[in-house]
């Protein structure tokens, strides 16, 4: 009887851990070179220099006193785990972003950089 219970418990454990895991990575690619940020010089760099360095921006915004160009790329890492009764999924998306602000004469006034895409992580949802 004890042996039967042990077999039964063993079967339940095997059944419960039977499943599969999937990991995946998605990239929204934008070919701007973050190392060229050092070439930017507020007060001197103009919008044409920026597009020459980074290419076409992802987004352009009209502001009260000029314009802003945004360059953005994303990395998503997904983890999914299927067990018999339980399914868990986790998706994490972070961005590399460069926002450049120009005055009415298209001269760069200031810029902000966030390079977080590499911090995207696989993991469980808790």
């Amino acid at each position: 009887m004890r042996k039967s219970i042990a077999v039964f418990i063993g079967m339940i454990v095997c059944w419960t851990v039977t499943g599969c895991t999937v990991i995946g990575k998605t990239k929204e690619y934008q070919p701007f070179d973050a190392s060229k940020i050092d070439a930017l010089s507020p007060g001197k760099t103009v919008a044409a220099d920026v597009t020459r360095l980074f290419g076409a921006p992802t987004e352009m915004v009209k502001l009260s006193n000029g314009n802003a160009y945004i360059y953005r790329r994303a990395v998503t890492k997904g983890t999914a785990l299927w067990l018999v009764l339980l399914t868990m999924g986790n998706y994490d998306t972070q961005y590399d972003q460069v926002a450049l602000f120009f005055d009415k004469d298209n001269v760069l006034t200031h810029f902000g950089v966030s390079l977080n895409a590499e911090q995207t992580a696989y993991g469980l949802p808790f």
Binding site: M1, K3, S4, I5, V7, F8, M11, I12, W15, P42, V61, K62, L63, S64, N65, A68, I70, V84, L85, L86, T87, M88, G89, N90, Y91, D92, T93, Q94, Y95, Q97, V98, A99, F101, T109, H110, F111, G112, V113, S114, N116, P125, F126
Partner: protein, 172 residues
């Protein structure tokens, strides 16, 4: 002999039960975080003196940029979507014509948002920060929003509460 038969019977029942349950009962937990982490460093912000350049140096590039009635907005945002769902079904279509099934789910999206408002000259005018991801899951999901009390006799009350404003079609 009796014990062995009982053990085999239990084993067969267990296999049958697990086979029935496998795929018919499931619980799913899903989490989807989108955006760079948003952390408020309030001590670094001073309304009336912090410039847009300083804010960009502290917080980096914003998620969104907008112009609002002569003011420029930098929006930093991260959303966290959480889903819990349960599904239960007994496939008896072959002999009963239809199956028994039950499913339920809860979805909750919480936002960490920092909005910085700048004047045309690029000086910080206002800032708003909300850390939604710190809110408890179940409490946030099932909390009833406070219902707004209707004003007596459908009359609006001014800010100081001293004077009532008659409704549009009252003829007063």
């Amino acid at each position: 002999m009796g014990f062995r038969f009982k053990g085999i019977l239990i084993g067969l029942c267990a296999v049958f039960f697990l086979t029935m349950v496998n795929g018919c009962l499931s619980y799913r937990i899903l989490r989807e975080a989108k955006g760079n982490p948003v952390a408020l460093r309030m001590e670094a912000l001073r309304v009336g003196s912090t410039t847009m350049g300083e804010a960009l140096a502290i917080y980096g590039a914003p998620s969104r940029i907008a112009e609002l009635k002569g003011r420029d907005l930098l929006v930093y945002e991260r959303s966290v979507f959480s889903q819990n769902s349960i599904a239960f079904g007994i496939p008896i279509t072959d002999f009963a014509g239809s199956s028994i099934s039950f499913s339920g789910y809860t979805n909750l999206t919480r936002y960490d948002t920092l909005v910085l408002v700048f004047t045309t000259d690029g000086i910080l005018e206002d800032s708003v920060f909300e850390q939604g991801s710190a809110l408890p899951y179940l409490e946030t999901l099932f909390k009833e929003e406070a219902k707004r009390k209707p004003l007596p006799d459908h009359k609006a009350v001014d800010v100081l509460g001293k004077r009532t404003i008659p409704p549009v079609n009252s003829g007063e």
